[in-house]
C-alpha cells in the first residue's frame, strides 16, 4: 500500500493511502477522548449536532442541498468505542475528482464542508441552538432506548456492563438517557472546546488523490492547533475467581447467551497475533470449533461466535438459543474452551486459521473503510504492526503459543437474556 504519515501539527496525525481502485474517497477525522460515563452522553449529542448543520449552512435543508450538489457527499458523524477510548468521528465520503463533471475539485470542496462542520458549528449566542438540541436529544434518547430492539447487541451491552462494572469498558459510547436529558445547548460548549483545543486528532484519507493534494486540503480546511497527542491506556480487567451468572427476562422467542471469558492481557503485537489465531480456531469463523460443534454437530443454535477485544483481556461468546437449552449450550461452549487448553486441534486447523487471517489482512485494500481502519490503527497505537509485520507475526504463531494462551482463558460471566418462558 502506498501510505504516507505526516504531522500537520503537534498532536495531529494524518495517514493517507493513495489508491486508484475506487470511484470515491474517504476522509475521516477522529478526536480521541477518555471513555467515561459522565461525558459520553455529551460527546454523543455534540457529534450528532455537528453533522446536522454548520455556521455557513444553518438549516438542515441548506446543508443537505449543498451536499447533494457535491455529488451526494456523505458527511457523517458518530461516536465509537475503541477499548477504553471514545472516538468522536466525522467523515466525508466523496466522489473521486476524476469522475466529476468539468474537472471539479470535489475533495477540496468536500473538505471545506467538513472543516465548516468542525470549526464553524451553528451557534446562537455562543450556544448550540435550543430547537436543534431538543430535537437531537429526543433522537439520541430514542437511539439509546432502541438498543433493546436488537437482542444480541443489547445482551452484549448488558454482559459488558455486568462483567466490567466500574470500568470504562462498560460505558456505551452513545451515552445514557438520564445524562442526555440533562444536557442543553450551553452545556455542550465545553465538550466542543475540548475537542477543538486539546483532544488528539487522527486524520485518515483513502482515495486517488496525491499526498500533496490531501495535505493541501487538510492544511487549508482543517487548521488544527497544536495539542498533546497522549492517549490513556486501557485498564486491565481484574479477574474474578468465580463465575457470575445473571439471567434477565424479556418478551422474546429465543434466549441470547453471552459468556464472558477473561484471558491474559495482550499488550504487544505478538501476543495480539496469538489471540487472533486462538480466536479464529475457537469461534471466529465458520470453520471454528464453536460453529462446527455447537451449531453444526449439536444443532443448538443458528449462530455461536466469539468476540475478543485486543485492547482488553476479555473474550465474549454470543449465541441465540431455544429457551431451556442454555445450560446445555454453556456446557458445549466450555467443552470447546477446554479443548483449546488441551491442544485438541489439528495442525491443519492452525494452518487454515493463519491462512484465513492472512486473507483478511491481505483484503485490507478491498474497501475504503478497511483501508481507513488500518490507517487509523497505524497512527493511534504507538506499537502498531504494519501489514507485513502483522502477517509475519501471525505466520510465526506456534501451536504451543495458542495452547499457552488458551490456558489463560477462564470463564467469568454467564449472562442469559431469557425469552420464551
Amino acid at each position: 500500500m502506498n501510505i504516507k504519515i505526516s504531522h500537520p501539527q503537534e498532536g495531529v496525525l494524518l495517514a493517507a493511502c493513495k489508491t486508484d481502485k475506487f470511484k470515491s474517497a474517504l476522509m475521516t477525522v477522529s478526536f480521541a477522548v477518555d471513555l467515561d460515563e459522565e461525558t459520553a452522553s455529551g460527546y454523543s449529542l455534540l457529534t450528532n449536532l455537528l453533522s446536522l448543520t454548520t455556521g455557513s449552512y444553518p438549516t438542515m435543508q441548506s446543508f443537505s442541498l449543498i451536499k447533494d450538489d457535491l455529488y451526494a457527499l456523505g458527511l457523517d458523524a458518530y461516536v465509537q468505542r475503541r477499548g477504553e477510548l471514545l472516538l468522536v468521528r466525522l467523515e466525508i465520503n466523496a466522489l473521486a475528482d476524476s469522475y466529476a463533471f468539468d474537472n471539479e475539485r470535489v475533495l477540496f470542496r468536500a473538505t471545506e464542508l467538513l472543516g465548516d462542520a468542525i470549526f464553524n458549528p451553528n451557534l446562537v449566542d455562543g450556544a448550540f441552538p435550543e430547537g436543534a438540541v431538543v430535537n437531537e436529544k429526543a433522537c439520541l434518547i430514542e437511539e439509546i432506548a432502541s438498543l433493546v430492539e436488537n437482542k444480541p447487541s443489547y445482551a452484549m451491552l448488558r454482559a459488558r456492563q455486568i462483567m466490567c462494572e466500574n470500568e470504562p469498558f462498560s460505558v456505551d459510547a452513545a451515552g445514557d438517557i438520564k445524562r442526555v436529558e440533562a444536557l442543553d445547548g450551553s452545556k455542550l460548549i465545553p465538550y466542543y472546546k475540548r475537542l477543538i483545543e486539546s483532544a488528539p486528532v487522527f486524520i485518515t484519507y483513502a482515495g486517488e488523490a496525491d499526498f500533496e493534494y490531501v495535505e493541501e486540503c487538510v492544511n487549508t480546511h482543517l487548521p488544527f492547533t497544536k495539542r498533546s497527542g497522549e492517549l490513556s491506556r486501557s485498564v486491565v480487567h481484574e479477574r474474578r475467581n468465580e463465575i457470575i451468572r445473571v439471567r434477565e427476562e424479556m418478551e422474546m422467542e429465543q434466549s441470547v447467551l453471552i459468556l464472558g471469558l477473561t484471558s491474559d492481557f495482550c499488550d504487544d503485537a505478538r501476543s495480539r497475533a496469538i489471540l487472533t489465531v486462538y480466536d479464529e480456531i475457537f469461534g471466529g469463523s465458520a470453520a471454528s470449533k464453536l460453529f462446527m460443534n455447537v451449531r453444526e454437530r449439536e444443532g443448538l443454535c443458528y449462530y455461536c461466535s466469539s468476540y475478543p477485544s485486543s485492547r482488553k483481556n476479555i473474550i465474549f461468546v454470543s449465541c441465540g438459543l431455544e429457551p431451556g437449552v442454555e445450560d446445555k449450550a454453556i456446557e458445549a461452549i466450555y467443552r470447546e474452551v477446554d479443548a483449546m487448553k488441551n491442544g485438541d486441534f489439528l495442525d491443519s486447523d492452525l494452518l487454515n486459521a493463519k491462512n484465513s487471517i492472512a486473507r483478511s489482512l491481505n483484503s485490507v485494500e478491498s474497501s475504503l473503510n478497511s483501508i481507513s481502519g488500518y490507517l487509523l490503527s497505524q497512527i493511534i497505537a504507538k506499537d502498531a504492526a504494519t501489514l507485513e509485520e502483522s502477517l509475519e507475526l501471525i505466520m510465526n504463531v506456534s501451536r504451543e503459543d495458542v495452547i499457552s494462551f488458551a490456558k489463560s482463558v477462564t470463564p467469568e460471566l454467564e449472562y442469559i437474556l431469557g425469552g420464551g418462558e
Partner: protein, 427 residues
C-alpha cells in the same frame, strides 16, 4: 477465439466479459486488479418460488424451501461441511437467499481456482440425509426465531401481509417453524432438480482471473443438457390492499411503523420495469429524501427522526412504496406523507431540483463499483435479465422528468396500509 463478449462503459470506466454456455449457464467476469477476489453462483430460485409449473404439472413447495436448500448445499457427499474445504484454501464462503435468488459466494486472496472448484462442486450436486435435514430444521428454527425477535424485521413483514392477499412476498424467505417442519429430503432434492438447472444459474467473478480457466471449470461441473427453468405461478392479486392497519406489540423504544402504498406491478423483471422503478425511486427521493422539504420540515418539527426511510420495492407481480420510521405520531406521519404526494402531483419539482437529484443518484450508484462483493452480487443477480448494472446507472441519466411525474401520478394514496409495532412490555 474467446467465447467472452466485452461490455464497456467509458463514462464510468468499467467493463465486464460475459459468456453463455449452450445449456444456458451464464458467466460474467469483472476484471479488477485487487488482491481480494470474489466469485458468486446465483440461482434464480428464492423465497417467492413456492408454486410453479414444470412439464404441465403444478408443484407447491413449503415456504422457506429455497432458504433451506441454501443451508444444505454446503454439505458434501461424505457428510462434511464444505466450509472446511474453503477454509483449507483460505477462502471465506457464505450464502444468502432473497425473494428471487439464492447466492453462494466466496472471497479469497490466494488459491482462487481451488476455491472456485469447491464452490462449483457444492452447487453442482446435492447431498443430504434424512438425519441432516432434521438436524438443520433445528438450526433454521433458531434463525427464524432470531428474526421473529427483531421488531424492525417484523414491521416490514407485517406490512407486506397487510398489502398483499396472495403474492408470496407475504411469506418470510426463511419460512416459518411450521412450514419448514414439512420439508423433507425429497422436497429438497425435487426443488434442486427443478431449479438448479444450468439455464437458471450464473457465475459472476470479480478479480484478476484467467477467463478460460473459469469457463473450463464451469464446463467441468455443469456439463449438462439445457433444461428450462420451471415457471413460477403467481395467484391473481387484487389491486386493493388486504387491510389498512396491522398492529403488533413488542419490546421497542417507541412505536415502529411502516406505511405502504400498493403500486401497479410488472409481470416481468425487465429493462422497462426497471426503468419505471428507477423513475419511482428518483420521485421518492425527491419527495422524502434527506434534502426534501418533507424530510427537513418533519425532522425539525420532531415528527420524524433519523430512522425515517422511504424506499420502493418491485419484483415480479409486486410493487410497493414503504416508508418506515419510529415514533408514536405514525398516523400524523402517514397523513403528511399522503399530503406531500398529492401536493407533488400538482406542484412538480423544478428542472434544477431534478438535475441535482439525478446527479446525486449517479454519484451514489458509482460507489457500487468500490465494493467487489456488492458489484459481484448485483451483476450475478441480473445475469439472466435483459439489463445489467451499467444500464441501471445509465437509466438515472436517461429517465425523463415526465417519467418521474408519471411515477408520482401513479401513486394511489388511498390504497395504503400501515404496519405498527407498538410498545409492549418492558424488560
Amino acid at each position: 477465439m474467446s467465447r467472452f463478449t466485452l461490455t464497456e462503459n467509458k463514462t464510468f470506466k468499467e467493463c465486464y466479459y460475459s459468456a453463455t454456455l449452450e445449456n444456458g449457464f451464464k458467466i460474467t467476469i469483472i476484471p479488477k486488479d485487487r488482491k481480494a477476489m470474489f466469485a458468486m453462483v446465483c440461482c434464480n430460485f428464492g423465497g417467492a418460488d413456492i408454486k410453479y409449473e414444470r412439464d404441465g404439472v403444478i408443484h407447491t413447495l413449503p415456504s422457506g424451501t429455497a432458504h433451506f436448500l441454501e443451508h444444505k448445499m454446503f454439505e458434501t457427499e461424505d457428510g462434511r461441511d464444505s466450509f472446511l474445504d474453503f477454509d483449507s484454501f483460505g477462502g471465506n464462503a457464505n450464502a444468502y437467499t432473497s425473494f428471487s435468488n439464492t447466492c453462494y459466494y466466496f472471497s479469497c486472496t490466494e488459491n482462487f481456482y481451488e476455491n472456485l472448484n469447491v464452490l462449483l462442486s457444492s452447487v453442482s450436486s446435492i447431498h443430504c440425509s434424512d438425519d441432516s435435514v432434521e438436524k438443520e430444521k433445528k438450526i433454521i428454527a433458531r434463525e427464524i426465531t432470531m428474526y421473529d425477535d427483531s421488531p424492525s424485521t417484523n414491521v416490514g413483514r407485517n406490512l407486506r401481509q397487510a398489502l398483499y392477499h396472495a403474492h408470496p412476498t407475504i411469506y418470510p424467505i426463511s419460512g416459518s417453524v411450521e412450514t419448514i417442519s414439512e420439508i423433507t429430503k425429497e422436497t429438497l432434492y425435487t426443488a434442486y432438480e427443478h431449479f438448479y438447472v444450468p439455464s437458471n444459474l450464473s457465475l459472476c467473478v470479480c478479480g484478476d482471473v484467467d477467463m478460460d480457466k473459469v469457463l473450463s471449470a464451469v464446463e467441468q461441473y455443469f456439463d449438462l443438457p439445457r433444461t428450462e427453468r420451471p415457471k413460477t405461478i403467481y395467484e391473481a392479486e387484487p389491486e386493493h390492499v388486504v387491510r389498512d392497519r396491522i398492529v403488533e406489540s413488542s419490546v421497542v423504544a417507541s412505536a415502529l411503523y411502516c406505511i405502504g402504498f400498493k403500486c401497479t406491478p410488472s409481470e416481468r423483471n425487465d429493462y422497462e420495469s426497471t426503468r419505471r422503478a428507477t423513475a419511482m425511486r428518483l420521485a421518492i427521493s425527491l419527495m422524502f429524501g434527506r434534502a426534501s422539504d418533507f424530510f427537513c420540515q418533519s425532522y425539525e418539527s420532531g415528527l420524524i427522526n433519523e430512522r425515517f426511510y422511504a424506499g420502493y420495492t418491485s419484483s415480479e407481480n409486486s410493487a410497493y412504496i414503504a416508508i418506515s420510521g419510529s415514533g408514536n405520531d405514525y398516523d400524523a406521519v402517514a397523513e403528511r406523507v399522503c399530503e406531500e404526494i398529492e401536493r407533488r402531483k400538482e406542484i412538480f419539482f423544478t428542472h434544477e431540483q431534478i438535475l441535482r437529484e439525478k446527479k446525486a443518484a449517479y454519484a451514489e450508484s458509482l460507489t457500487l463499483f468500490d465494493s467487489c462483493e456488492d458489484l459481484t452480487a448485483s451483476m450475478a443477480a441480473c445475469a439472466h435479465l435483459d439489463y445489467d448494472e451499467f444500464d441501471c446507472i445509465e437509466m438515472l441519466r436517461d429517465v425523463t422528468e415526465q417519467e418521474i411525474r408519471d411515477a408520482i401520478g401513479s401513486i394511489d394514496t388511498r390504497n395504503r396500509s400501515i404496519s405498527i409495532i407498538q410498545k409492549g412490555t418492558d424488560l
